[in-house]
Symmetry: C2
Subunit: 169 residues, 2 copies
């Protein structure tokens, strides 16, 4: 590209795409969130936690392991678990084999909520996201997102970016 050393500004058109991108993504996110909420009274944060616990051995994880999986700050997890515990979706118990450390268990209510929410949620992803795009558009999006991610990663200090190992949304 012919940009000199001077740090460049986005063109009008680039800015338009940027805004559309951000706003549309935001809208999509809140739509999904709303559906999940009304179908199962779960936020997407709740969902992530319940998903991780559902897949865990004996539906229990060490708090730190859970933080790993969902890619959150410990503090955020702690706050969120406190709220979820109040709603009886999970329970925390001191961890036996490690004096520090807390075991987070899925409760029956938590398991049930997750079960009820899961399928509709995945269907919503299909309806609102997959259905909207042709295969070419999906591939194009993937390519762009991958490029963005790679551009971002070197500078990566902050957020999630989990070493992906499998599963669900």
């Amino acid at each position: 590209m012919a940009q000199g050393r001077r740090r460049a500004m986005p063109s009008r058109e680039q800015l338009r795409i940027w805004r559309d991108y951000i706003e549309t993504t935001e809208l999509l996110r809140t739509r999904l969130e709303g559906r999940l909420q009304s179908e199962s009274s779960l936020s997407s944060a709740d969902y992530r936690v319940l998903l991780a616990l559902s897949e865990a051995d004996r539906t229990t994880l060490r708090s730190s392991a859970l933080a790993e999986r969902v890619g959150w700050q410990r503090s955020r997890l702690s706050h969120h678990l406190a709220r979820m515990e109040k709603r009886d979706l999970i329970r925390r118990t001191p961890c036996l084999d490690d004096v520090h450390g807390v075991d987070v268990h899925l409760t029956d209510l938590g398991a049930e909520s997750f079960r009820r929410g899961s399928v509709p949620h995945l269907r919503s992803v299909h309806e609102l996201f997959v259905d909207a795009l042709t295969p070419e558009q999906l591939a194009g999006l993937d390519a762009a997102v991958t490029a963005l991610r790679e551009h971002l990663d070197p500078e990566d200090t902050g957020l999630s970016r989990r070493r992906d190992t499998g599963r669900n949304s």
Copy 2:
């Protein structure tokens, strides 16, 4: 698409793209936000408000007009304006020609903050977004986002999405 009438679930690959898309976008958003914050002590919400006011006649807008422009719920705007007023970025005065209604003015500090934040912010958009993508990737992203937006719009009840006064879609 060859999906039958049954409501479909996303495939593993589609889900992977979905997750990457959402997470990367989120990461990008917080990166930008962080830069804006450190460069000018403004959140992107602040920025939007200040931008709208900067462009307004006499750097003043009726609260309702402002809500229109930034696409927020009145309640959200009210809360945010209260916080911004506390920081002396804007000021609210009762509106003369309409007994209901409040005029929101840009203060000198607000104008100054916006001026200081604006150029670096646009540069950040260029660096973190535009620079990451080839022209083809940018076009691909635009196409996908446009498709998503169009898919979403019919169902539009909730958020922003400007009611484009003339034409539809």
